[in-house]
Every structure is written in structure tokens, then in C-alpha cells.
């Protein structure tokens, strides 16, 4: 509680203190601007040629000011990387208080054709980001590396939440962001690119990629593309995220950072570890064959011993080196990033009963207090080699490897709210989750002549995930001193997803015939192989003297398999599966200027999908194997009207799809966190029509004001809903198509700088709706207490899963180039959204509005060497993540002993998680 109230204010206070120093009168001032674009050149240096003490660095809006200049003649030098330096002579007279002098610098001429190669340094700045947004053919938000560096974020997932219209779903076990929801469209409706190439996911069920696997430091800029053009893959309805990795610089560049930090959670409680070394990557059936009868002693127990520790500090390190060789023709960059962190959460969770109480009232099986201790180790390695064969041909090869290892201990105390009310269960679970993504792309760009251009990519990618020996120890008791040992289940899951893909684009720019016209056509082909493995072993406690076994320690616990075959695990089941998918696509588009100020990009894309799956289930099993094939014709048109040089009006239309997850179409059947989970082989892809309208104003280089509307019509949206198909005791979570949904909204973005201050804010309003059947449970005639209970259905309209009505970001920046100080305070507000759709009327789980506040700073330590100290403080408000059912039950009113944490007679708090604050302090060195 102490942190919660004091820390943000402390930071704001410091913030104010530091900046008040620089507010004083000036004598010589003005702006330093690009001579061609008039854009401010933040960071340009204005210095007295004869007295190095008199200097200033241009601020975010390009302004500088130098105080207390003596009267007389002065020569100032104005310089900026990539621009021709200028000398300015000024005569200062005694009676003049203020001299205003604006300087226009000319960019250095670039000798080679390949502008792209040499413009990279700029790409990491916010100027270039704004330029990209302004000049793009479609709707784009760009976050450059420099902004990421200065932001409080350390993973790409956390960076994403700063983008307008994006919310990030957090994991319950650490509070780290993981998946992005773009404009209210759930993670399934978005895809992830690395350097423009789609990558496979290590997720065991779905296509979407966990964004927390990417360390933020490795990227050059992050694009969120909200309107697809025909040359992009067409399976995003919310948007696409592109991680552009760092490219070889034009001179030797070495960048080293190192930082250490801590999470406040572990100042108050210990972190629980288990012995990871005993965890077998392979299940007994994989090690000894599927006919092997497993003995209870084949399972290690050391991963069920949880040791309280005070963890080492979190460590983040990154190293990057790049240079160009052979007359700048060969560029190489190698980047490496490693993050090791200890995080966790304290959570209150309720487990709903499969069937509500009569009147469709919320009913609960139990309540749990969970403490998570999560160690994460994140590794990113990236290497790019580009080679300019000659003026007209370049080749590049890049390799990227990402690894995220998670070791999660969960201690839960469960109190029954139904059968045996008040009894407690203690559960201790250890989980090892290893995820990897590898991507290798060979790319060529060729100018056949001055009108015809060709580029191609050959891609090999693979994603893996292992979840070996997930196991939970459980004991129950009416009397906490004599707990009774319960059964135990060991689970093994792993999957691989491998892509081979080729892309080819041909563009023709007949400049002499039609000005500003480009005709582009191309295609792609991808062959995917996915394999999934699942096995679980369930053991029961052995009865001792015909009485239940008391639990003392795991060393004394005795388990046995009950029933023949139980010791084989579940070696053959529908969760073991293979999928192959072939996607081929062709497109043609034309970009031209129809009127003087009207740009048009129009085209069509055709995508063909063929998916086949197979499971080792017996032939009698319905859905042992299956396939889906479909073709989509996806037209798109993007209009840009240049009101002025700095203002655009945009209107976009595009058609897109979202394919079901690979696992979702397998008739799988697994036990999930709360409910059993089940596949749906009859699932269809979602198809959407999207319209965007946007006004853009770019007052200055890093500045922008954007305002826009969007509307989406989605046929066959896919959502998870509870069904009951496997007998009465189990509700199952099953993906299903739900008619037609609509999604509309409004976005507003502003980035504005006032001298050393900057404000970056965005707000998105989203309203989606989807109509589905939900079940009710009550008496046939509710007035007649002797009438039978019955289960019925009603049609209910609600927002789509994950869609928050209001999303707002506000960052306040302070940038003093002269003293080399950057400060940033960033807040994110996310409105309420459905986190879990219930099959029952009125019992959806709602994620309640949440505000988070983060702070970061960076200070240059020396003018001679490029060394900075930086700090990041996250989750300053330590705001709990609260989930509610927006329906009450008189039995669980506030103050009820049954269900603590309640504060309202109109809703029920069903989940509440607290993640703690985390701090990071470190150094950055750039050569």
C-alpha cells in the first residue's frame, strides 16, 4: 500500500524539480530545421566556434536557446549528423534582449542509389516514424527504437500497449503483457511479422504469436498496420504487427546495455523455486515406448519441492555490433539480448460451477488464493548480412532466434464453496514452459531497369514449445493439521510449427508514362507442418490401513495407478496431432495519382488455403483426420488525399479473413485451467469487410494529430463458449462461429512538443457487437415452486471478447538534449472488456477498467563517450487486475464470509491479481 500512493507522486515531484532548472530567459534563440521539409532537427548542435561553453542542442520542436552572450561578434557552428554544417555570424549589441535566428540545414547528398541501406540510422528515430506514417499507403502506427529505448518497456508486448487502439493481455502468473488486441479485435484476428515475414507461433493451439518472447531492445522499429494492402497477407482483421529488426549501420556501431532490477512482490514474500534439472523433457512413453507400464517411481519428485528464496536481481543485458565493409557494400549486424527476471502475482480466483444456481445465478465451486512465482529467461539473437552486389542488386540474409523459458511455481489454497463448504485444499504446481522461434530469410532486391523492380524472399522458420512434466500436488483437509493426500497428474505437451515460404513481388514504375504510378504484382507460397504431442498420467494416493493417506511430505507420499491401462498414460489421443497447411496467394495492385492531390492504391488478393490434420485416434473416432480447403478473394482500396503538405485525408476499404487456429479444428479434448477444452472441426474462417477514415496532421517532425473512424463487419467470428457435450459434470470451452459481428470505433492520436516537453496521447473508443445464444436455468414457471427446473436458451447481444470500450494512453516526455536527460511518465487506461465468455446468460467474466503508470529516465553521463544511465519503473500504481461477473447473487453480498473481496451488491469480484512494482536501473554504452 505504501508504494501505491507515494511512488507516483514522488516521481512526479522529481520530474518537476529537474525540469524547473531549465526555465530561464534567453538571448539567442531559434529553430534548427531541415531545409527541404522544414522539419525540426532534434539533437542538432548550435555551438560558439570560439567558446565551446556556449552551446545548445535542439529540442523536440527544433528550438535552441543560448543565454548570456557577450556583446560583440560571434561565430556559431550548426551541425547535425547527415546534414551539411553551417557557420553563422552574429553581432550582439548591448541593448538587444533577444535575437531570433532560425537555421535551415541541407541534407548531405547521398551517393548511391540504395537509399534504404544508408537511411537506417534515421529509421530508429521518431522523425522517421512520423514520416513513415505520413507517407504510407495505408494506415500505420510506428514506434521507433529510440522511443522504445526511452520507454519503460522491456518487451515488445509492453511496447504495443502504447500504440493507439491496442490493448495488451497480461498473463496471470507474472503480469507481463503477452498478446495484443488491436481495435477491440482479439489476438486471433491479428498476425505478427518479423522484417515483413510472417512467423510461426510456439503457441500450442493457435496462430498468434506471444509478443512477450521478443526483447524490445532488438528491434529497429515496430509497426502496427491497421489497414492491409493487397501485397500483404490477408488474414488480419484487427491489424498486423511488424517487428523490423536492427539493420547494419553505415559505420561501426557497438551498443552495450546492462541493467538490474527487482520486483517489489519479493520484498514482501519469498519467491518459490523448484528443481528444474529433474524435469524430463520427454514423457515416459516417449522415453521407453508407448507400451511401457510406468511405475510411480519413474516420476521425479524434486520438482514438487518448493523452496522459498529471495531471488537474485533481475538482469537485462544486450549487445549489438554492426559495421560495413568492402567499400560499404557488405553490412553486418549482430544483436543479442538476454533478460532474466523474477516476477509473480498474488491472485484471488473463484472457480465457477459448471451449472449456475436456479435463476441463472452465479455459483462457485471454490475460491482460491494463488501465489505465482515466475522466473523468465528471454533470449533474442539476430543477425543480418546485406550485400550490395552492384547499384541494381542487393542480397540480404537474416537470422533471428528468440527463446523464452518460464519456470512457474504456483501455490494455491482452495476453499470449497459448495460440497464440503469451508474445507481447504492445498495445491502446489510446477510448470516449465519453453518457447522458441527461429527465422531465416534470404532476400533479394533487383532493379531490372529503371522502371522494373523485383524482390523476393526465401524463408525457413520454426517455432517450438515444450511444457514438460506439468504437475500439481494436492492435499485436502477439514483440519489444516491433518491434510489428506490427493491424486496427482503429470502432463507432457510439446509442439513444433515449421514454415517454408517464398515471396515474390514485381513492380513497374512507368514514371515517364504516368507520373507517380506503380503497378505491382506478386505471390507467395507457404508450406507449414505442425506437430503436437500430449500425454498425461494420473495417479491416485495409496490407501494406508484402509484409510485415506495423510499427507506429510512429498517424500513420504505414495501413489499408485488405479485401473488397468492407467499406467500407459494417454499415449494416443486427439491431442496428438499433425497439421499441414499450404497457403498460396497472388495479388495485383496499382498505385497512382488520379488527381493532383489524390493518391489511390487499389488491388485484389487471392488466397488459397488447404489444411489437413491427422490424429492417431482409432478409425472409429469421428474426426480422426480431416481437411479444409477454401479460397478467398480479397479486394482493397486505399485513398489518400493531400489537403496540404502536412495534412492527409485517408479512406481505406479492405477485405480480410482470420483462419481458425490449427488446434481449434482438431476434435481435441483436454483439461484446461478451469474447464475442459474441446476442439471444433466444423469451425469456419472469419471473413471481414473493413472501412477506415482518417484525418492526419503533421505539424512538425515528431508531431502528429490523427483522428479516424473505423467500421468492421465480421462474418463467422470465432469465440470460445461453454458447451456441455461430454456428460453433465463438465462444461467445455469450445471455439465456435457466431453469426455476424460488427465493430466500429473512433481513434484520436496526438504527439506534440513544447520546447523540451512533449505530450503523446491517444484515445480509442470501440464498440463491437455479436449476438449469440446463451443458456438459462430456472423453473419452467418461476412463480410456481413446484414446477420443474429447466435449461433454456436466449439470444444475447454483447461486445466481442477482449474488446474494451475506452483505451487511452498518455505519456509526458521531457527531453533536454543539452544535459542529455530524458524523462518519461506513461499511463495506460483500459476500459472494461469481456475476458471470458460464459455459456450462461449474464455470467460473462469482465475485466474491469485498469490504469497502469510507468516511468523511465535516461541521462548521458559524459559528453566524450556515449555512456548513459537509465532506469525503468513499471506498474507504479500496482493496480490490481480485477475481473467481475456483472450479476449479483444475494448469497455472496459484500461482507459474506463465503466470498471475501466483495465490494458491490450488483456484481461479484471473481478474480483479482496483484503483480507488484518492478524497477530496473542500468547503463547503456554506444560506440
Amino acid at each position: 500500500m505504501y508504494y501505491r500512493f507515494t511512488s507516483p507522486f514522488l516521481f512526479i515531484f522529481l520530474f518537476a524539480l529537474i525540469i524547473s532548472n531549465s526555465l530561464s530567459a534567453t538571448i539567442l534563440k531559434g529553430k534548427i530545421l531541415d531545409s527541404k521539409t522544414n522539419e525540426p532537427l532534434t539533437g542538432a548542435i548550435f555551438i560558439d566556434k570560439n567558446n565551446a561553453g556556449f552551446y545548445d542542442v535542439a529540442t523536440l520542436d527544433g528550438s535552441y536557446s543560448i543565454k548570456k552572450i557577450n556583446s560583440g561578434q560571434h561565430t556559431f557552428i550548426v551541425k547535425y549528423l547527415g546534414y551539411v554544417s553551417q557557420e553563422k555570424k552574429i553581432t550582439v549589441t548591448q541593448n538587444k534582449d533577444v535575437i531570433i535566428l532560425d537555421v535551415l540545414l541541407d541534407p548531405e547528398a547521398i551517393s548511391l542509389n540504395q537509399v534504404e541501406v544508408f537511411a537506417q540510422l534515421d529509421r530508429e528515430t521518431s522523425q522517421s516514424a512520423r514520416n513513415s506514417e505520413k507517407n504510407a499507403d495505408n494506415l500505420l502506427n510506428v514506434i521507433p527504437a529510440k522511443s522504445i529505448e526511452l520507454s519503460p518497456d522491456i518487451t515488445v508486448a509492453n511496447v504495443l500497449q502504447r500504440v493507439s487502439g491496442v490493448t495488451v493481455q497480461k498473463t496471470a502468473n507474472s503480469g507481463e503483457g503477452q498478446y495484443a488486441i488491436i481495435r477491440g479485435m482479439d489476438k486471433r484476428y491479428n498476425y505478427t511479422l518479423v522484417n515483413g515475414i510472417k512467423i510461426p507461433s510456439p503457441n500450442d493451439k493457435n496462430r498468434y504469436v506471444p509478443m512477450d518472447i521478443f526483447p524490445a531492445e532488438i528491434i529497429s522499429h515496430l509497426d502496427v498496420i491497421k489497414a492491409l494492402t493487397p501485397d500483404m497477407e490477408g488474414d488480419a482483421i484487427g491489424g498486423a504487427m511488424n517487428l523490423q529488426l536492427k539493420e547494419a549501420p553505415d559505420r561501426l556501431l557497438v551498443n552495450v546495455t546492462g541493467s538490474a532490477g527487482y520486483n517489489s512482490l519479493f520484498l514482501q514474500r519469498p519467491f518459490y523455486t523448484f528443481d528444474k534439472s529433474v524435469v524430463n523433457l520427454k514423457s515416459p512413453a516417449e522415453m521407453y515406448g508407448t507400451n511401457y507400464h510406468v511405475k510411480p517411481t519413474d516420476f521425479p519428485i524434486e520438482n514438487l519441492k518448493f523452496n522459498p528464496i529471495h531471488p537474485f536481481p533481475n538482469f537485462n543485458g544486450s549487445f549489438s555490433i554492426g559495421d560495413r565493409f568492402f567499400n560499404r557494400k557488405l553490412g553486418i549486424i549482430l544483436s543479442l539480448s538476454n533478460q532474466n527476471s523474477f516476477s509473480g502475482s498474488d491472485a484471488f480466483v473463484t472457480i465457477p460451477r459448471a451449472q449456475p444456481n436456479p435463476g441463472t445465478l452465479p455459483a462457485f465451486e471454490s475460491k482460491e488464493n494463488r501465489t505465482y512465482s515466475t522466473q523468465q529467461n528471454r533470449l533474442g539473437i539476430h543477425n543480418k548480412i546485406d550485400f550490395l552486389l552492384n547499384r541494381n542488386n542487393t542480397l540480404s540474409l537474416y537470422n533471428a532466434y528468440f527463446e523464452l523459458d518460464k519456470y512457474i511455481s504456483r501455490h494455491s489454497v482452495v476453499t470449497s464453496l459448495s460440497t464440503g463448504v469451508g474445507n481447504t485444499e492445498t495445491k502446489d504446481r510446477s510448470q516449465t514452459q519453453l518457447e522458441r522461434i527461429y527465422n531465416s530469410t534470404l532476400q533479394g532486391k533487383h532493379s531490372i531497369n529503371d522502371k522494373l523492380f523485383v524482390d523476393w524472399s526465401a524463408v525457413y522458420s520454426k517455432a517450438w514449445a515444450y511444457r514438460p512434466d506439468e504437475v500439481e500436488l494436492q492435499s485436502n483437509s477439514t483440519n489444516i493439521d491433518s491434510p489428506i493426500l490427493q491424486g496427482i497428474t503429470h502432463k507432457w505437451m510439446h509442439n513444433t510449427d515449421q514454415d517454408l515460404a517464398g515471396y515474390l513481388n514485381i513492380s513497374w514504375k512507368p514514371d515517364n508514362l504516368f507520373e507517380n504510378t506503380e503497378v505491382k504484382a506478386g505471390g507467395m507460397y507457404r508450406h507449414k507442418n505442425r506437430e503436437n504431442y500430449f500425454n498425461e498420467y494420473s495417479l491416485d494416493p495409496v490407501f494406508v490401513n484402509n484409510a485415506p493417506q495423510l499427507f506429510t511430505t512429498i517424500d513420504n507420499a505414495k501413489f499408485a495407478f488405479s485401473g488397468y491401462n492407467a499406467d500407459l498414460g494417454s499415449p494416443v489421443n486427439q491431442n496428438d496431432y499433425t497439421v499441414s497447411e499450404d497457403v498460396d496467394a497472388f495479388y495485383g495492385e496499382i498505385k497512382t495519382k488520379v488527381l493532383e492531390k489524390l493518391n489511390i492504391l487499389a488491388g485484389v488478393r487471392v488466397e488459397q488455403t488447404r489444411l489437413a490434420y491427422n490424429t492417431p485416434m482409432p478409425e472409429t473416432f469421428i474426426g480422426k483426420s480431416g481437411s479444409q480447403a477454401y479460397m478467398d478473394v480479397l479486394p482493397g482500396m486505399h485513398l489518400k488525399y493531400e489537403l496540404t503538405k502536412k495534412q492527409n485525408l485517408r479512406l481505406s476499404y479492405f477485405s480480410s479473413i482470420s483462419r481458425p487456429g490449427y488446434f481449434e479444428v482438431i476434435p481435441y479434448n483436454i483439461s484446461g485451467e478451469t474447464f475442459d477444452e474441446k476442439g471444433n472441426p466444423y469451425l469456419r474462417r472469419s471473413r471481414a469487410q473493413n472501412i477506415d477514415f482518417r484525418y492526419e496532421l503533421f505539424p512538425g517532425a515528431s508531431e502528429q494529430i490523427l483522428a479516424g473512424f473505423f467500421y468492421k463487419n465480421i462474418k463467422d467470428p470465432i469465440e470460445y463458449s461453454l458447451v456441455r457435450e461430454n456428460g453433465p459434470s463438465a462444461l467445455q470451452l469450445k471455439p465456435q462461429n457466431f453469426g455476424t459481428a460488427t465493430n466500429l470505433g473512433f481513434e484520436f492520436v496526438i504527439n506534440k512538443y513544447f520546447g523540451n516537453f512533449g505530450v503523446s496521447a491517444n484515445y480509442t473508443f470501440t464498440k463491437s457487437s455479436i449476438t449469440t445464444y446463451k443458456k438459462t436455468y430456472q423453473r419452467i414457471n418461476p412463480q410456481d415452486q413446484t414446477s420443474d427446473f429447466t435449461t433454456d436458451s436466449v439470444r444475447v447481444t454483447r461486445p466481442m471478447q477482449g474488446q474494451a470500450d475506452h483505451i487511452a494512453n498518455l505519456s509526458i516526455l521531457y527531453k533536454n538534449q543539452k544535459i542529455g536527460l530524458d524523462l518519461q511518465l506513461s499511463g495506460v487506461y483500459t476500459g472494461k472488456s469481456i475476458s471470458q465468455v460464459s455459456g450462461w446468460d449474464g455470467l460473462d467474466y469482465w475485466s474491469m477498467p485498469n490504469t497502469t503508470l510507468d516511468f523511465s529516465f535516461q541521462k548521458k553521463l559524459s559528453r566524450k563517450i556515449n555512456l548513459s544511465i537509465f532506469g525503468k519503473a513499471r506498474n507504479l500504481l500496482n493496480s490490481p487486475a480485477i475481473t467481475r461477473i456483472l450479476k449479483s447473487n444475494d448469497y455472496y453480498l459484500p461482507g459474506s464470509l463465503q466470498l471475501p473481496q466483495q465490494d458491490s451488491p450488483n456484481s461479484i469480484i471473481v478474480q483479482k491479481e496483484i503483480y507488484g512494482l518492478s524497477f530496473l536501473l542500468g547503463f547503456r554504452y554506444t560506440l
Partner: protein, 483 residues
């Protein structure tokens, strides 16, 4: 009208007792054995789809999993033995009928002989009854009739293997002894035996049921019920003998949202030492259990040394306002048993003590905390006012029901849970038993629901035994359980 019913049932009772107590004239006319379709060959082990008739006196081996396909019927004449291979399944998509008889019962069990280890106090961990040898009779929702008469179903509870399991199941899932799941289908089980299971011996997800005069022994290994019926189950559970069930012996719940509301009558059952083999004994019952929207009537049951008496669950609440019960007889050797006739924490209940129960807890009858107005108060679908602990010490070892061969108070054993099978015991009542004549046959209180809709005379329930005035499953007039 009411008096008419009473007089009619009194007449029926009179006629009934006349029929059984007097020695009737013997007049037996043989009927041809019932045959459907072709006879099943016993020449080689069966596998794959089976249909037709298994002939009297023959032994059939199920070498691999078998299926009775939808539209097909498999009929067992009397005196048939079916030996099932280890881990194998009988899957019924059509109809399965086993017509054993008193003189020639049928056996469906392992293809291997186990020595029954029914000695009192035998270690359950070593007991062959809990071997879980095969995966039982699994009826798919398309099965319209499962009928077992005079049939033994033994040693079930294996996990499903890699190659064969019911729709929606998976390899590695545990099994029930009998699994029935058709709300418009009939499950008829008469005069049969269930011996040894790992989980529930019988699970009825939904269906019309008639379960009468059977014997259940050693049902559930470290948990599981003898007979567990869920939503859409309607019918009678009567005159059964349950010995040594792991958790509940007979349980009804309306969980599931399938078919009509669960409505099950449980009358004239005998429950011996139920509820002690629970690995999670923190809240469950030990004899009769109604929960989660189920309703029904429970009368004339005899409970001896069970972990808990009739349990009307408060949360998830049974359809308490539409429940009726009484005339239930409890005997307990220990104070713990007699303090749980109306179960108390951790087995939370709202069972109302009845003046007709034996023993009648007179102190509770006048206490407002044990009466309907208080216990049946419903808040948000839950009955928050549960039965609070009371003192049953006055009733310990009181009212010995005087079984023919089962000494009470139990002597020479260390735990009430040590009794889990009939063995050489005989749970019929001696003529001087205080449990005789204390029940009710009043049709205004309890009549069979007689819910099954089989029309073919050959396959109808042989007898829908009406409630009897002697407590438990054996009537002194010879009716009731025939084992």
C-alpha cells in the same frame, strides 16, 4: 380420492403378502428361450461388432473391444458367461439385454479368475476387487435400452486404452462399470450384482431408470458412487443392498441441463458401511445423496454404520421444496455415525429430522434450527442455514436391526469401514427385528415412478416392487431383494 388410493394400496399389500406368505400352488409352464437374430458364435474370441443372441449355457470371450451398433441388439439368454479381456470395452450404440435368471444368472466379468478377498478388514490397496480389469458397459447416447436381469458385472474400472473408447472419450480416461446417457432411453437393472469398480459403478448421465433388488459391493476404489444419476434421470432405486461403497451409495443430481428435471425415488434400500473409502472425505456423503436441483422421495431405507445419513445438499442445493423423506432407519456403532444421521459439517446438509425416522431425534424435532422454515430458506439458489452439530450419543448402538447373520454391535474389527462385501453375511431381518413394520407403504407418501417405457412384455421390468413396510431391501414376507 386419497382414501381410495390408501385402500387400494392396502388391498394390494394384502394381496401381495397373501401371495408370498402362503405357499402358492406350483404351476410352471416353460417358455421358449428368447432369441433375437442369429446366435453369436462362441467358437473364437469376439471383437468388432456383435449382435444377435448369446445362447444359454455358453461362455463367450471378448478378445478385443466390441460394439453393438446402432439398430442392433445383443441379447444374452440365461446362464451366459461373458469373459472380457483386460482393458477391453463393451460399447453399446444399439440395445443390450441380459436375461439371466435366479437359477441361471449371467456373468459379465474378467477373462481371468480372481479370488474374492472379502474378509473383513482386508487391505483395499491389495483387494482384487479394485484391480480395474475392464472398462465396463459403455452406452452411447444412441442406446435406447440397457437391460440387466440376474446378471453379475464384476471388476470394472480400467482406463480406456489407446485404440478404443466411447465417443468423446479419450485414451487414458477412467471408466465406469456401467455408463448410460440417453434421456429418452431406458436403463433397467433388476436382481443383479455390481462387484468392484474404480470410479462410479453405475453412472447415468441421463435416462429413465428402474434399478431394483440389486446388490452393490465394493463400488469405488478411493472415491466414486455406487449409482450416480444426473440431470434428466427419472425413476426408482429400490430394494438394493449397498455394502462398502466408497462415497455415496446412491446419488441424484440435476446437473447437466439434459432432459426433464432429475426425479428419483429411493426406497427400501439397505446401506452398510458406506462412505469410508474417500480419498477426499471432506464434504461428501456416505449413503443417500440428493443435490444440485434433484428432487425425489426417500423412504424406508435402512442405514447401518454409514459415514453419513440421508444427505439433502444445501449448496449446490437439491430442489428442497420438492423433496420428501422419512421413515428412514439408522443404526450406528459409533458416536460419529449417530452424529451424522442428519449429516453435519464438513458434509453440509439441510436434511430435516423427521418424526417418522428411527431413531427419532426428539430434541431436534422441536428445535427451530432443524425445521423446514429455517433449513429450507433459499438465498441466491443456496440454502445458507445448514444442519448444525447435535448430540447423537443417546442413540449409539440403539435399535439393532437384528440381521440374520451380521453381528451388531460389530466386534473384533478395528474400523466400521472394514466391511465392504456381503461374503457370508446375511442382511435379512430376523423375525424379532425392530425394523420390521416400521416403514410406510402409504401411497400418498411414496409410490414408484415406474418411469421406463419398454412396451415389449418380454423386456419390461419383471416387477416394480412397491414400497414395503419393513425397513431396507428384505421384506419379511419374502418380497424385495431376492439375493
Amino acid at each position: 380420492m386419497k382414501s381410495k388410493i390408501i385402500s387400494f394400496s392396502a388391498l394390494a399389500l394384502f394381496v401381495g403378502s397373501m401371495l408370498t406368505s402362503c405357499t402358492p400352488d406350483q404351476n410352471t409352464v416353460s417358455t421358449p428361450p428368447i432369441q433375437i437374430g442369429q446366435s453369436v458364435s462362441d467358437a473364437s474370441p469376439l471383437s468388432g461388432s456383435v449382435k444377435g443372441t448369446m445362447l444359454s449355457g455358453k461362455t463367450y470371450t471378448i478378445g478385443d473391444d466390441v460394439t453393438v451398433n446402432a439398430g442392433d441388439t445383443l441379447l444374452l439368454q440365461s446362464g451366459v458367461t461373458v469373459k472380457v479381456g483386460r482393458g477391453k470395452t463393451i460399447l453399446v450404440k444399439g440395445v443390450l439385454i441380459s436375461l439371466g435368471s435366479k437359477t441361471q444368472p449371467n456373468f459379465i466379468g474378467p477373462d481371468k479368475t480372481f479370488t474374492k478377498t472379502d474378509a473383513v478388514g482386508y487391505s483395499s490397496a491389495a483387494d482384487s476387487a479394485f484391480i480395474g480389469y475392464w472398462t465396463g458397459i459403455n452406452c452411447e447416447p444412441s442406446c435406447s435400452l440397457l437391460e440387466l436381469k440376474w446378471t453379475h458385472v464384476d471388476y470394472t474400472g480400467a482406463n480406456f486404452g489407446a485404440t478404443f473408447f466411447p465417443t468423446k472419450g479419450k485414451a487414458g480416461d477412467g471408466s465406469f462399470g456401467i455408463f448410460f446417457q440417453n434421456s429418452t432411453g431406458d436403463f433397467i437393472m433388476e436382481d443383479s450384482w455390481m462387484y468392484g469398480s474404480i470410479d462410479d459403478a453405475i453412472r447415468v448421465s441421463t435416462g429413465r431408470i428402474h434399478v431394483m433388488r440389486n446388490t452393490f459391493e465394493k463400488c469405488g476404489f478411493t472415491g466414486g458412487d455406487g449409482l450416480n444419476v444426473k440431470s434428466g434421470s427419472v425413476g426408482d432405486i429400490a430394494y438394493n443392498l449397498f455394502v462398502g461403497g466408497a462415497t455415496n451409495s446412491s446419488k441424484a443430481s440435476n446437473k447437466g441441463g439434459v432432459g426433464p428435471q432429475t426425479n428419483v425415488n429411493m426406497y427400501n434400500n439397505t446401506y452398510i458401511s458406506g462412505g469410508y473409502r474417500q480419498k477426499d472425505p471432506t464434504g461428501r456423503g456416505g449413503s443417500i445423496n440428493y443435490e444440485e436441483g434433484a428432487k425425489g422421495k426417500a423412504f424406508n431405507n435402512l442405514m447401518v454404520n454409514c459415514r453419513a445419513g440421508v444427505r439433502i445438499h444445501n449448496n449446490p442445493a437439491a430442489d428442497v421444496v420438492n423433496m420428501s423423506y422419512g421413515y428412514n432407519y439408522t443404526y450406528g456403532d459409533s458416536l460419529r455415525v449417530m452424529n451424522n444421521v442428519y449429516p453435519v459439517m464438513p458434509t453440509s446438509t439441510v436434511t430435516i429430522p423427521q418424526s417418522t425416522d428411527i431413531p427419532a431425534y426428539t430434541a431436534l424435532l422441536s428445535n427451530p434450527n432443524y425445521q423446514q422454515a429455517y433449513l429450507y430458506t433459499i438465498v441466491g439458489g443456496v440454502c445458507p442455514n445448514i444442519v448444525q452439530p447435535y448430540d447423537g450419543s443417546a442413540y449409539v448402538k440403539v435399535g439393532n436391526p437384528m440381521f440374520v447373520n451380521f453381528q451388531l454391535p460389530m466386534t473384533g474389527i478395528s474400523r466400521l469401514s472394514d466391511v465392504s462385501a456381503v461374503g457370508s453375511f446375511n442382511f435379512r431381518l430376523q423375525s424379532g427385528s425392530p425394523a420390521i413394520g416400521k416403514g410406510t407403504a402409504d401411497a400418498s407418501k411414496i409410490v414408484p415412478l415406474n418411469a421406463t417405457l419398454v412396451t415389449n412384455d418380454k423386456f419390461k421390468p419383471t416387477e416394480v416392487t412397491l414400497p414395503g413396510v419393513d425397513m431396507g431391501c428384505y421384506q419379511s414376507n419374502g418380497s424385495g431383494n431376492q439375493h
